[in-house]
């Protein structure tokens, strides 16, 4: 048994969902989503027992390209994030009616397939294909099932598509260049390249453009808020929960070990960029009127900190970044879901049109509150573990990085509590707000459960990712 099984389940699931027809689509999709999640957990078990679950096969002989899926702890963690969140996201959409739902759910699974592939691929071209493939389903999901004015939406989504595609082309150029030198695009062959500092710099920058747009880091983030706002919530969850982690993961997997000299030379600039994102994103979030946009800017702030962690090139920085990627994936899906739950009842995303929900719906309020608290990294939530570790790693580089990055705990509390106050508290709203349904409750409880469990006991994940991060660090610190 190897990891290609997961990809097969997701791909077959996508086709099966499409064939199942509109009525059954959501259920079939959920079934395959759960199957993929179950299979990944089984595989994780095999992996932990020391079995080799990687899959490498010659794909194209000329040029020399392999179908290489390498599962180490890091990839397994990201794979699990994808396959566990996918059924949660599918389930969260139960209760929404989508036109042509067979295509909708098929695209959703297909996207999950592409993202899982990105996290597993260890051949440059294969990785690049998965990377770009994941863009197509989200493009259609946002364009066809999104909300708001069609022309506006089209503008935002097309911009997103072209922008990310353009950024990725530079990465392709970097791969072509490296292929010329190595004669293969297998990651381990690329590691063996003796690239000069100058070559590394160009490769570093080419990768950076692709990743900075995808993550996104400021000032490459302009597509984000609009797409998050315009996409259907399921799409926003896929984007913020999983897809933006593709960029962060790729920094760790590809950019840093392939261009370590450049990374070391310019790390301060990139840490600075990440931290600027923390402060800038937090401040912009303060005055957002649209709940989804506010959450988008909060994401910008959080991923800025994660990116800063990766560029410290320390074990704590990388580990904290990965922990925080997973934690943020869950919390942001939960938060967007909370926004969706409000939208289902009030048909608005404008914070000013909410308020006074707490008296009507105490259960929902409590769960939303917990998600807000997790998002501001209250200890005992998973997000604290990640944020603490990242900030600690920054303090090892320079205490000012930790202080400036640490403003997130103040500013984050400011914009999140302000939002919560105006969305949920105050005089009872005149519009009725029914408390969460069973389905909504299950989804939120699942997410909250994950956040608390790993907040108190992050060891399983830490143990899973640490060896592969150490391996990557050895690569980063190798002497050319």
């Amino acid at each position: 048994m190897n990891v290609s099984l997961i990809l097969i389940i997701l791909l077959v699931g996508a086709f099966a969902t499409f064939l199942a027809g509109d009525k059954l689509a959501s259920k079939v999709a959920l079934f395959f989503g759960l199957a993929a999640a179950g299979a990944s957990i089984v595989l994780l078990n095999h992996y932990n027992l020391g079995e080799n679950i990687s899959f490498i096969n010659q794909w194209i002989t000329q040029p020399n390209i392999s179908f290489a899926l390498r599962a180490d702890g890091l990839s397994m963690a990201m794979l699990l994030l994808t396959t566990v969140l996918t059924p949660i996201i599918i389930f969260s959409s139960f209760g929404n009616d989508y036109k042509n739902s067979k295509s909708f759910y098929a695209l959703l699974l297909f996207m999950s397939f592409a993202m899982a592939g990105t996290f597993l691929a260890s051949d440059g071209l294969l990785y690049y294909i998965f990377w770009e493939l994941s863009l197509i389903p989200i493009y259609f999901i946002a364009l066809i099932w999104g909300n708001g004015d069609v022309e506006e939406r089209k503008k935002a989504v097309v911009k997103f598509f072209i922008y990310t595609l353009a950024g990725s082309l530079f990465m392709l150029v970097a791969f072509v260049y490296m292929y010329q030198k190595a004669g293969s695009l297998l990651l381990e062959d690329l590691y063996k390249l003796n690239l000069t500092a100058n070559e590394q710099l160009w490769i570093f920058l080419a990768f950076f453009l692709a990743y900075a747009i995808k993550i996104p880091l400021i000032p490459f983030h302009t597509w984000q808020a609009n797409v998050y706002q315009k996409a259907p919530t399921v799409g926003t969850m896929l984007l913020s929960g999983i897809m933006l982690k593709m960029g962060l993961y790729s920094v760790i997997r590809w950019q840093l070990p392939l261009a370590p000299l450049a990374a070391k030379e310019y790390m301060y600039i990139f840490i600075g960029l990440g931290i600027t994102g923390v402060i800038y994103g937090s401040i912009v979030a303060l005055k957002q009127k649209d709940l989804k946009k506010l959450l988008a800017y909060s994401s910008l702030a959080h991923v800025g900190l994660i990116a800063a962690g990766t560029y410290t090139l320390t074990l704590d920085g990388l580990r904290g970044a990965v922990l925080q990627m997973i934690a943020h994936g869950f919390v942001v899906v939960g938060l967007f879901y909370a926004a969706e739950i409000i939208f289902r009842r009030y048909e608005t995303r404008a914070i000013a049109e909410m308020g006074g929900i707490r008296t009507q719906s105490p259960k929902f309020t409590s769960m939303f509150m917990i998600l807000v608290l997790a998002s501001v990294a209250l200890p005992t939530t998973f997000n604290f573990i990640g944020e603490f570790t990242v900030l600690y790693s920054l303090s090892q580089i320079n205490i000012w990085f930790a202080i400036l990055g640490g403003t997130t705990i103040i500013l984050g509390a400011y914009y999140m509590l302000k939002m919560f106050q105006h969305a949920m508290l105050g005089e009872t709203n005149s519009k009725a707000f029914t408390d969460v349904t069973v389905n909504e409750g299950i989804t939120l409880v699942l997410i909250i459960g994950v956040l608390f469990f790993f907040g108190m006991y992050p060891k399983p994940i830490t143990d899973l990712i640490t060896p592969s991060l150490e391996e990557i660090l050895t690569q980063i610190n190798r002497i050319n």
Partner: protein, 630 residues
């Protein structure tokens, strides 16, 4: 050992269980049962604490319990562990003890509130986090409690969440606390970097055994930790949240914002005394900040008319005195004052709650007066507590405050003067409060007068118990024969007070303090009893009183230099920078479009133009090759 672990778990988890029961079943349990469960769960913790207190003499090195690995950092692991020693047990005793009393009080006080079960749930959760803060064996477990009590404070200040002003107060408390929390985190980072541990015991050994300590970073760490303490314990410049926090129900003010949570900063600094002792510069800052806070808050307290606001500023001022003691290295004195203050201030707050309850929510002392007859027990207990806080001899506050003044006098005369002036003011405003509330004629409405009554026994019993403690609490550290100092020796090996024993100077100082307190009371008596003055309406307040009444306009100042600029920046980023960046990206698209459009125009089918371009190109290549050969 196994036994200890189990009892420690009971100690920690009982209030958490109470929280869970009240959250999930509170509504169906009914109000009384929900209150009883809430109270009992804290009482269980108190009993468990008493068990450890009983055993500590036999085990002076304390009990350490490690539960599991929590966070892994490259150069160390942080485990989830407890440390039950003299300091934590002492803190737990009054947290759970006073906590039980205040829970009991709340059964009656909150009985008319439809969300009473939630109130008890939050209160239980608070106790759980407070216990975690105190019992943790390292700085990160402390941090769980530290942020957890901040959360509960937020939830309880905003308990009546329909009122957005209360929600504002709650949010302000949380955010200001978080400013401090960042300081605490930075301190934790530096200590982690320096010593590769966050565990108190290991840290202590590492610092004691280090040959060349990096004094610069040690001081930075101590200063950062102190900022954390400022946030939680409401010291300048992070004190303005505490008076606003009075928006919460009065039992919350008594428990969280007077007796327990706000002492967390003092606990942390005492816990790390071995660190602060090495950083005299930071200690000086702590002493000065403490003294100035004590004075500033006391001056504001002089003119407030809201009964809870007076008590709130009094709390800030008293905490300032404790910080003064900490800064002078007299940790045991600070701890002593924490305990006596917990008794008398909890009593005062609960008493004020009893008054507010009787007057159906009235908090303005200008509309009170003459309550002595209608509410004899509330009056008597509050009167005792006022005597204690004013430092009248033989009441508990006399001993603890006197020790602070003594220590200050021996270290630094100006600090002693400042602290003494603050103490005189304390006596004045406390008796101003007493006279305005309980003496002369009732100034409220006839309707209120008709309903005046003494509170039920669930309210008066905690008041009586606290009044007794406020009276006799001083016995734990009598001058010259201090049980407390002796008890704390394993934590505080070099006691600051041990240096000087009682001599003539000490007796003179004591007399000065007592006379000062009596003068303060006397002025209040002259003004509010003899002259029967009632504070004027808000609009009629002028001059410096107005500045004081408006709290030196510090809130307005912070608003102008922090809140407004950040909001301005946010709007600027949102409306200008974001649109600009977005236009820039579209700009790239437009430029590409334009180039391709111009390019398209060239492809117009004119052979002449193509030939011209061909010749031009050829010339360029030839000349390049020619030049390159040279």
């Amino acid at each position: 050992m196994e036994m200890n672990t189990n009892i420690a778990l009971v100690l920690v988890l009982a209030p958490f269980l109470g929280f869970l029961i009240n959250v999930f079943f509170g509504k169906s349990l009914g109000k009384s049962l929900s209150g009883i469960i809430g109270t009992l769960s804290v009482l269980v913790s108190f009993i468990a604490t008493a068990y450890f207190f009983g055993g500590i003499a036999a085990q002076p090195e304390g009990i350490r319990i490690s539960l599991f690995d929590w966070i892994q950092i490259s150069n160390f692991n942080v485990d989830f562990g407890f440390q039950l020693d003299q300091l934590s047990i002492l803190w737990l005793l009054f947290v759970t003890g006073i906590g039980s009393l205040i829970h009991l009080y709340s059964i009656s006080y909150m009985h008319d509130d439809e969300n009473m079960h939630k109130f008890f749930a939050y209160l239980n959760l608070f106790i759980f986090f407070m216990i975690t803060l105190v019992i943790g064996s390292n700085l990160l477990v402390l941090f769980i409690g530290w942020e957890g009590v901040g959360l509960c404070s937020y939830l309880l200040i905003g308990f009546w969440h329909k009122n957005q002003e209360y929600n504002d107060a709650a949010k302000k408390a949380f955010i200001m606390n978080r400013i401090g929390d960042l300081g605490l985190l930075v301190g934790i980072f530096i200590l982690g970097n320096l010593f590769s541990t966050l565990d108190y015991a290991t840290l202590k050994t590492a610092i004691a055994g280090a040959t060349n300590l990096d004094m610069y970073w040690l001081s930075v760490a101590a200063f950062a930790l102190f900022i954390g303490a400022c946030g939680k314990s409401a010291q300048i410049p992070l004190y303005t949240w505490l008076p606003d926090a009075m928006a919460g129900p009065t039992p919350v003010s008594a428990l969280i914002h007077a007796a327990t949570m706000v002492t967390a900063g003092i606990f942390m600094i005492t816990r790390l005394n071995f660190l602060f002792d090495l950083t005299p510069d930071v200690q000086s800052i702590i002493a000065i900040v403490g003294a100035v806070t004590a004075l500033v808050a006391a001056t504001i307290g002089l003119v407030q008319n809201d009964i809870k606001k007076v008590l709130a500023y009094s709390t800030v001022s008293q905490l300032g005195l404790m910080f003064l003691a900490l800064g002078l290295g007299a940790y045991e004195v600070a701890v002593f004052h924490v305990i006596t203050h917990a008794f008398f201030k909890a009593c005062l707050f609960l008493g004020s709650g009893s008054v507010i309850h009787a007057l159906h929510g009235e908090q303005d002392m200008r509309n009170m007066g003459g309550l002595k007859k209608a509410m004899p027990i509330t009056f008597a207990t509050m009167f005792i507590a006022s005597l204690a806080i004013s430092g009248v001899p033989l009441f508990s506050g006399f001993f603890s405050k006197d020790e602070i003044l003594l220590v200050a006098f021996h270290h630094n005369i100006p600090l002693w003067v400042v602290a003494s002036v603050a103490s005189i003011m304390t006596a004045f405003y406390m008796f101003r409060l007493m006279f305005l509330t309980f003496f002369q004629e009732f100034r409220g409405t006839a309707e209120q007068k008709h309903h005046l009554h003494e509170s039920p026994s669930l309210i008066t019993i905690p008041l009586i118990v606290l009044a007794i403690l406020a009276t006799i609490g001083g016995v734990i550290s009598l001058p010259g024969n201090s049980w407390l100092n002796h008890y704390l020796i394993p934590i505080l090996p070099k006691l600051a007070t041990a240096e000087h024993h009682l001599g003539t100077t000490e007796y003179i100082l004591m007399a000065i303090a007592v006379v000062g307190g009596l003068v303060g009371i006397g002025i209040a008596y002259a003004k509010y009893i003899k002259q029967n003055t009632v504070p004027t309406e808000d609009a009629a307040i002028t001059g410096f009183s107005k500045v004081l009444y408006n709290k030196y306009y510090v809130d307005e100042f912070y608003d102008a230099i922090f809140v407004k600029p950040i909001n301005f920046l946010s709007r600027f980023f949102r409306d200008t920078v974001e649109t600009g960046l977005s236009a820039l990206v579209f700009g790239f698209g437009k430029v590409t479009n334009e180039i391709s459009y111009q390019g398209k125009k060239i492809q117009n089918g004119s052979i002449g133009l193509y030939l011209f371009a061909f010749v031009l190109g050829l010339c360029a290549i030839v000349s390049y090759l020619f030049l390159a050969q040279q």
